[in-house]
C-alpha cells in the first residue's frame, strides 16, 4: 500500500466522522472528539475504516490516546509510513 498523504487521511477521517453524525463545519484538527459527540463505538468503527483504507491497525491503547481529530490523523500518518 502506497504511503497516504495527510490530505487523504484527513479526508477519510473527516468523512467518517460526518457519517457518524458529526457536523462537518465543526471538524478541524483541533476539534476534540468528545465535543463532536464521537464515542467509543464511533472510534471502533473509525479503526475499521482506517485499517480498510490505509492498512493501519490501531490497538485499543492507540485509540484511547486519540483526543482530537489531529491526533487521529497524526497516528495514522505515522503508522502508515
Amino acid at each position: 500500500m502506497a504511503e497516504p498523504s495527510i490530505d487523504q487521511i484527513e479526508k477519510v477521517i473527516t468523512d467518517s466522522l460526518v457519517t457518524f453524525g458529526a457536523d462537518r463545519d465543526a471538524i478541524s484538527r483541533d476539534a476534540e472528539l468528545d465535543a463532536l459527540d464521537v464515542d467509543s463505538l464511533d472510534l471502533a468503527e473509525l479503526s475499521q475504516i482506517i485499517e480498510e483504507n490505509f492498512g493501519v491497525e490501531l490497538s485499543s491503547n492507540d485509540v484511547s490516546e486519540i483526543k482530537t481529530v489531529g491526533d487521529a490523523i497524526d497516528i495514522v500518518a505515522e503508522r502508515a509510513k
Binding site: T19, L41, E51
Partner: protein, 398 residues
C-alpha cells in the same frame, strides 16, 4: 395491590404515525396493507432522529422510540418526568429484534470477512435494544428489559409492566412492543413455515383466509400507579384491569385445535380483573388470518366466555395493518383503548365470505357504534405466539 392506569398511548403502524390515525383510519375501513405487506411508509425517519440517533438504532428501535415519544407526550410527560427516574421502567417486547441489522452484518461477514462486521451490530440487533433505547432517550432508570415471546411479546410486556407497578417495583412503566422484520430472511423464513398469506390478503375469520400478512410497527402505553397518576392530576385513559398468561405446551408453531391454552389465558385475565364474561363489551382478537389460529381462537373464546361469546362483538386489527408480530399485542392494546373511548368498534376488514365453522360476531367490514347502555367499557385483547405463548389483557376505558 396497586391499581394500574393508562395515561398515554402511542403507535406507529401501516395506517400512519400516531395512535389516533390507527383508530380513525381502521374504523373508517382503511387498510394499510399494500403489495402483501404492512409497511410504516408514513414514518419519515429524519423527522424524528439525528444522523447519529438513526444509525445507532435498528428500525425496530426507531419505531418504538417514535411511539414512546408520542405516548409520553400524550401522558403529559414531555416537559419532565412526573416521578423519580428510578421509579420509572421501560419494558418493550419484540418477536425477533434487529433482524435487519443481523442480515446486513451477515452479508458483510460473508462478502468482506469478519474484520468489517460493525461494532454497532450487537447494540443494534439485540432483542432488548428497544427497551434500552426508550430508557436512554427518556432517562428512565427503573426496571427496563425486553420481552421475547414471538407474537405475544407486546402483550406480555404490558402484563409484566402491570405486575411491576402492582407489586411496587415501579411507579410507572413505559411498556409496549415493536417489530421491523420486513426483511428478505424474515420473509423467506415465515413463508417456509407456511405462515404467510400467498394471496397477500389479511382477512381474518373469512372462509378464504390463507395466512397472515406481515407488518411492521410499534405500540406503547404509559402505565402508572393509579393513585400516583391521580395525585398528579393525570388524565386517565383506561385502567389495566387484568392479565392472564398461559402456554400450550403442545407444538412450536400451532395451537391445539380446541384453543385450550388461549381459553385459559382469557379466563385467567378475567379472574385477575375480578370480572366475568358478562362484563365484556368487546374482544380485540389475535385474529391472524391463518386457517388454524382463527379456528382455535374462536374455540377458545367459546370455551372461556360461554354463551356470551356469541354476543360480544369481536374484531381483528390485523385485518387493517397485518400481523406486527412482537408489536401486535401492544398496538392492539392501543387500538382497544381508543375504540372503547370513542365508543366505536372498528371492523374486521375483508371478511366477506364467512367460514361456516366460525360463527361469532366478528364485526365484518363496517365499524359499529358501541352502545354501553349503562355498562362499563371493558374489553379483552388476545395475543398468541409461536412457542405456544398465550397472553391476554383486560382493559377498561374511563
Amino acid at each position: 395491590m396497586n391499581e394500574v392506569v393508562v395515561t398515554g398511548v402511542g403507535a406507529v403502524t401501516p395506517l400512519g404515525v400516531g395512535a389516533a390515525k390507527l383508530h380513525e383510519r381502521w374504523a373508517a375501513g382503511v387498510c394499510g396493507i399494500e403489495d402483501g405487506e404492512g409497511r410504516c411508509d408514513e414514518l419519515v425517519v429524519t423527522d424524528h432522529f439525528s444522523v447519529k440517533q438513526a444509525r445507532r438504532a435498528d428500525r425496530f428501535s426507531q419505531l418504538v422510540l417514535v411511539a414512546a415519544g408520542e405516548a409520553l407526550a400524550d401522558a403529559g410527560w414531555d416537559a419532565e418526568l412526573p416521578y423519580e427516574a428510578a421509579r420509572i421502567g421501560a419494558i418493550i417486547g419484540t418477536g425477533i429484534g434487529g433482524i435487519g441489522t443481523i442480515e446486513a452484518n451477515d452479508r458483510t461477514l460473508i462478502e468482506q470477512g469478519p474484520k468489517l462486521v460493525s461494532p454497532l451490530a450487537v447494540p443494534l440487533m439485540m432483542g432488548n435494544a428497544g427497551a434500552a433505547a426508550v430508557s436512554m432517550r427518556h432517562g428512565l432508570k427503573g426496571p427496563s428489559y425486553g420481552v421475547v415471546s414471538a407474537c405475544a411479546a407486546g402483550t406480555h410486556a404490558i402484563g409484566s409492566a402491570m405486575r411491576a407497578i402492582q407489586y411496587g417495583d415501579a411507579t410507572a412503566v413505559v411498556a409496549g412492543g415493536t417489530e421491523a422484520a420486513l426483511t428478505p430472511l424474515s420473509r423467506a423464513a415465515f413463508a417456509a413455515v407456511d405462515a404467510l398469506s400467498p394471496s397477500g390478503i389479511s382477512r381474518p375469520f373469512d372462509r378464504r383466509r390463507d395466512g397472515f400478512v406481515m407488518g411492521e410497527g410499534a405500540g406503547v402505553l404509559v402505565l402508572e400507579n393509579g393513585e400516583a397518576a391521580r395525585a398528579r392530576g393525570a388524565r386517565v385513559l383506561a385502567i389495566a384491569r387484568g392479565y392472564g398468561a398461559t402456554s400450550d405446551a403442545f407444538h412450536i408453531t400451532a395451537p391445539p385445535a380446541n384453543g385450550e391454552g388461549a381459553a385459559a389465558a382469557i379466563t385467567r385475565a378475567l379472574e385477575d380483573a375480578e370480572l366475568t364474561p358478562d362484563d365484556l363489551v368487546y374482544v380485540n382478537a389475535h385474529g391472524t388470518s391463518t386457517p388454524i389460529n382463527d379456528r382455535a381462537e374462536t374455540a377458545a373464546l367459546k370455551t372461556a366466555l360461554g354463551e356470551r361469546a356469541k354476543t360480544i362483538p369481536i374484531s381483528s386489527t390485523k385485518s387493517a395493518i397485518g400481523h406486527l408480530l412482537g408489536a401486535a399485542g401492544a398496538v392492539e392494546a392501543v387500538a382497544t383503548i381508543l375504540a372503547l373511548r370513542a365508543r366505536v368498534l372498528p371492523p374486521t376488514l375483508g371478511l366477506e365470505e364467512p367460514d361456516p365453522e366460525l360463527d361469532l360476531d366478528y364485526i365484518p367490514n363496517i365499524a359499529r357504534t358501541l352502545d354501553l347502555d349503562g355498562r362499563r367499557a371493558i374489553a379483552i385483547s388476545n395475543s398468541f405466539g409461536f412457542g405456544g405463548h398465550n397472553a391476554v389483557l383486560c382493559l377498561e376505558a374511563t
